[in-house]
Symmetry: C2
């Protein structure tokens, strides 16, 4: 092969349950996809990696072999871009810290260049490569999933910081002495605006008031953010109030984030964004009300347009170029 760019990259979306590999072309088309269970490969990450590569090889052969692959990108929780390691991974099946996943995959794939980063950074990279941020130099990606993640882009580059772990906006404290967070601190954005945060708000409002609501048909302990979103779309007043509150907290948080890199846009991704304007409208309103005057009216607010099922793979794969 020459030193020209090769036609494909591999993206891996590594989750607690599934590891989804995609072989992606330069237009962001996933030409091959392979799914492997993340757990059950033996105690060592090496076992996982060799099983994955075995499952992946037929797909690689289909696109002409490793010689046609430019690189591989991995999006994984708590992954460190600088070290290539997963630093600590409470939801992944390997014990220990600093699992050198980039290195392990590189060795198993004949020395392929493998880059790893956390899921939200991968999502931001994906937006720059294939999505709404193609022409943006300064934006903030916010992923609203089980937790709240973020990828911050300044002057066209992901912010990795001094240690590769920058961009944890889900853990900015938005309410001093607020809700208890899984991180051990109190009042993190994530405790209000993640899927679990929304369910928490729902349980709180349903317990503290006796307003009638469709949500009362669901046992409190089983209530999920999805239910809130569906009920809000059906016009349920309590559900709308919950979405309003969630959007309000997010909008205020974004108005503070603006002081950092004055982004041209905030791009939201994740299940919660399915609520559409029911979430985006209160975000924008709270932002406009609270942002410092010199930033007013500058940032735009978007929901990612990348296909949900493919976005994580695309994001990860974009690191492979």
């Amino acid at each position: 092969m020459t030193s020209e760019k090769k036609p494909y990259v591999i993206g891996l979306d590594l989750g607690g349950t599934n590891s989804v590999f995609g072989i992606v072309d330069a237009n962001g088309y996933v030409v091959e996809q392979v799914s492997v269970k993340t757990a059950g490969h033996g105690p060592e990450p090496q076992h996982y990696v060799s099983d994955c590569v075995e499952a992946l090889m037929p797909a690689i052969e289909k696109v002409g072999g490793l010689g046609n692959i430019q690189g591989m990108g991995i999006g994984a929780p708590n992954a460190n871009y600088y070290t290539g390691c997963i630093e600590f991974a409470p939801n992944l099946p390997w014990s220990g810290t600093n699992i050198p996943l980039a290195d392990l995959f590189s060795k198993a794939l004949g020395g392929l260049r493998v880059t790893i980063t956390n899921d939200a950074n991968a999502a931001a990279q994906g937006e720059m490569m294939y999505g709404l941020a193609k022409d943006m130099k300064n934006f903030i990606m916010i992923t609203l999933g089980t937790g709240v993640g973020s990828g911050i882009v300044c002057d066209g580059k992901l912010v990795y910081g001094s240690d590769g772990l920058a961009g944890e906006l889900g853990h900015v404290v938005v309410e001093p002495n607020g809700r208890q967070c899984g991180c051990g601190r109190k009042g993190c954005l994530e405790t209000y605006c993640s899927a679990t945060g929304v369910a928490r708000t729902a349980r709180q409002i349903l317990t503290e008031t006796d307003e009638p609501s469709l949500l009362r048909n669901i046992p409190l302990t089983e209530l999920e953010s999805k239910d809130v979103s569906i009920a809000a779309n059906q016009g349920d007043k309590v559900a709308k109030e919950i979405m309003d509150f969630t959007g309000h907290m997010l909008g205020i948080a974004c108005s503070n984030f603006a002081c950092f890199n004055s982004p041209e846009a905030f791009i939201f991704f994740g299940g919660l964004t399915k609520a559409g304007d029911l979430l985006m409208k209160p975000i924008k309103e709270a932002y406009d009300e609270n942002v410092l005057k010199c930033y007013a009216g500058k940032a735009r607010f978007y929901v990612s347009e990348l296909d949900d099922a493919k976005a994580a793979i695309l994001g990860a794969s974009s690191l492979g170029w």
Copy 2:
């Protein structure tokens, strides 16, 4: 002249009262210094600029003329790096917005390359060029003056954002519905940790308690942060409590800022830092208590070592290279 670097740059520290010009060599030595009153040159900024250049020319001639000057940097309130303008300047003598100061100086100095930025960004740039941040790639500069300013450096570059106005960490809301800020919002960091914020805390504590204090010898309305600092150094309990509170608020704020760019250091500059450990100790303690676990123990906390009188000129001049 060849295209080689010329031996000097001009730095201008533009304040509401004085405009201080320095001609600076590559080692950060201020070889010539010229001071001009900022007001009183006529209604148009052109008048100010031509008076300044007239006052500056003898100093320029002393270093061999404009041919020996590489460029000029200006540090000024509300200056926009991208546009070269002062966007709005309530404390400067010119009416109107978007005063094209970089352009005006460039024309008056024979087409010299002139760059402008706000004071805190200039300070950060100065630290990178001549100060503690010489070998740093990711740090946050916090200036504690009448207001609280900041310069954020990611991957070796000042963060200017989409509009040139990024890095206003003094206006991150640290206390929802907290103290009224001059910006029209409530609870900004600046309302607690600027010189005026400290005086405010002092008045509040002195009014709400009857604890004896050296500060009671000063009329409440005349109380300044400097008095608090002096009294704290003399062991005054109330004054120490005020410094503790100020440091505590700053430390918590920094623990949230870490979520953005995971800086290797926070560097503080400005009058308040004269309090030394009386301020720095509570900052570090609150930071350690509140920072997200993955960042714990990573950032260092420094007071700028640049000579107070020269630092602003040095910072501005560093843009001239």
